[in-house]
């Protein structure tokens, strides 16, 4: 699945970033890499979303979020707290 298919309030783990070179470099600089944990905080039905990654909030457009391959993070006790 891609991040774009994700639901608000759920944590995911990045499995790959398949977007234009320039954008993927920016994402990498922001710490979005293979294996990074991201959490969707808020999203619009067909559009942008707000994610939390490495302690900061980012707004991502639909194009970028649908180019990030993720898998749902296995529940871990301490991180389920909202």
């Amino acid at each position: 699945m891609t991040l774009y298919d994700g639901k608000a309030g759920i944590s995911y783990q990045v499995e790959g970033v398949f977007v234009e070179e320039a954008v993927s470099r920016r994402l990498q600089a922001l710490g979005i890499n293979d294996g990074t944990r991201v959490r969707i905080l808020n999203r619009k039905k067909k559009g942008a979303m707000i994610i939390q990654v490495r302690g900061t909030r980012l707004a991502l457009g639909r194009h970028i979020s649908s180019c990030i391959e993720v898998k749902e993070e296995a529940e871990r006790g301490e991180e389920t707290a909202v």
């Binding site: 710490g31 990074t36 490495r54 302690g55 707004a59 991502l60 457009g61 639909r62 970028i64 301490e78």
Partner: protein, 669 residues
Amino acid sequence: MTEKNKTIKVAFVGNPNCGKTTLFNAVTGSRLKVANWPGVTVEKKEGAAEYEDCSLTIIDTPGIYSLTCYTIEEKVTRQCVMDDEIDAIVNVVDASSLERNLYLTLQLLELGKPVILALNMMDIVEERGMEIDLHRLPEMLGGIPVVPVSAARRTGLGILLHAVVHHYEEGAAGNVLTYGEEIEHKIAKLEVMMQARFPNHSCVRWHAIKLLENDEDVRNEHPISIMNVVEKSYEKEIIQQKYAYIEMIVREVLFHKEKKAAFTDKIDRILTHPVWGVPIFLLIMCVVFLMTFLVGDFLKAGFESVLGWLSGQAGQFLLLIRCSPWLISLIVDGIIAGVGGILTFIPNIVILFLALAILEDSGYMSRVAYVMDTIMGRAGLSGKAFLPMILGFGCSVPAIMATRALETERDRRKTMLITPFMSCSARLPVYVLFSDMFFPGYAHLAAFSMYVIGMGVAILVALLMHRWEKSREAVSDCLLIELPEYKRPNARTIGIYVWTKLKDYLEKAGTTIFVASIIIWFVLNFGIHGMVSDPADSFGAMIGRGLMPVLAPAGLDMWQIAVALISGISAKEVVVSSFAVLFGVVNANSEAGMAAIIGHIHMQNPAFGPVNAYALMVFCLLYVPCAATIGTVKKESGSWKFTIQMVVFQLVLAWAFAVLVFQAGSRLF
């Protein structure tokens, strides 16, 4: 230890919105604009500070996430820190998001220059119940000084300067991060090759790493054959290993990091709601403008009486010292009417900027980019393009400079083209005057509608352009922006912001509007036969009459209006000044002044009513931006062709809309 009168050049470098400029202002006593959204600073700025016997030159740079060179900000900052004249780097770090900020730190350390870490926003860290181990952190960063500061509360500044002055002589920290075997092996090889070719190079390791990352600029500057060493780009691996090291640092130095910043999330649930986000934004802007009109009007009375008194006194004094009548006319009817009339709008302007400052400092701005992303996406722009547009409500000049934060040149030009449609504060006097004169009882609504029309036209133009160019290029819906924490607006920050804007306004009144008023007075009082008693014989009238046929379909067939519109290109407020000078009204922004202007207009054209006035307001909203904006567009786009195309396009569009309003309006009403 340090010699006397030594100047140390220090660069402040850090992520966007981590407080570099606030710290810069605190250290140097400058008053640069700060706000709570990423990308406020787009140019590097210099300031000076003293510490003990040392004088320091401090350079504030635009915020960056990484030392690559993909955006204009990155290029500016990278060039600045690579500069050999920089003696030390102060890496400003937002302690409340240490993990992301340290990525840049690791890159800066590789440069081989002395780095001092300024740990900003420690107060937020404490508020959130987090703790940072201030002994372990420097240990893991190669022993560089780590100084906790609070730029907003101005604490830790002395210690920071002390660290800069004493640390820079010790030189750079050693190698902090060792990459995996394969990469280190290649770095070593490249270092040898670099040293052979460029024996005096200052930061060989950094350049070797950049070569491994396949960095274009570094490769072009160092044309050494690396084919057999670098067979692919190692950028991804290098970034991953940096972040892996950062994760290790964070694990060791940061405690209780899972505690949530519940406050921001709670507000975001409302303000960035998928359905209500856009209506809430429009409501907020609505409140801002209503405040501007209501509170501004409330405070206006005081200004009016002062101006009336001043004008009377000046006239009497000039009579007393036996000035010739033409000089009295120039001073009273030209300068006091033209400049003074503009000054009575100060309350409105202050309230507008106060509201914009609060919006910017609270952290709401970048949310607007998210909220508006869907609408902007239809127009082929990312939500980020909406930030310059909001700044345009204040003044188009900084708004156009803010387009630098956009990724592609195409997006930049498109945004530059539509940003002037956002009603800037200079157009406010025009709306206030004409809606008060022709829409009694509905004045606020008429003025507010201009803001809505401006925003609508901006989005519509972008939409049509997008349709037109769709066949040629792919969509770039690449919204990627950091959302800062909400915070209580800082009184000092807002004070600086409003004061700077007010000063600009006063300066403009004292220079551009002053000169324009004098020129208008001359143009209206002199004709081919010298000084004229009836302005209808003046040069101004001649020019104006030439344009009347063009303006007639928009219901603006008065030579006075043509003169006012032309002079309004110098600055939009001058439209109001010209009316004041044209009709010899001392204070256009008072009941008596307005009655006089209406009287004069009706003498020329008895049919001039609300529909004509509305067409005039629409024309003022959309036509050629002021000279300063045109100059900025030229500078930022680097193209006269684009600038001229833009001016012509906006002129034609304004005319078309004004004609539409007048023709439709006069049939309906």
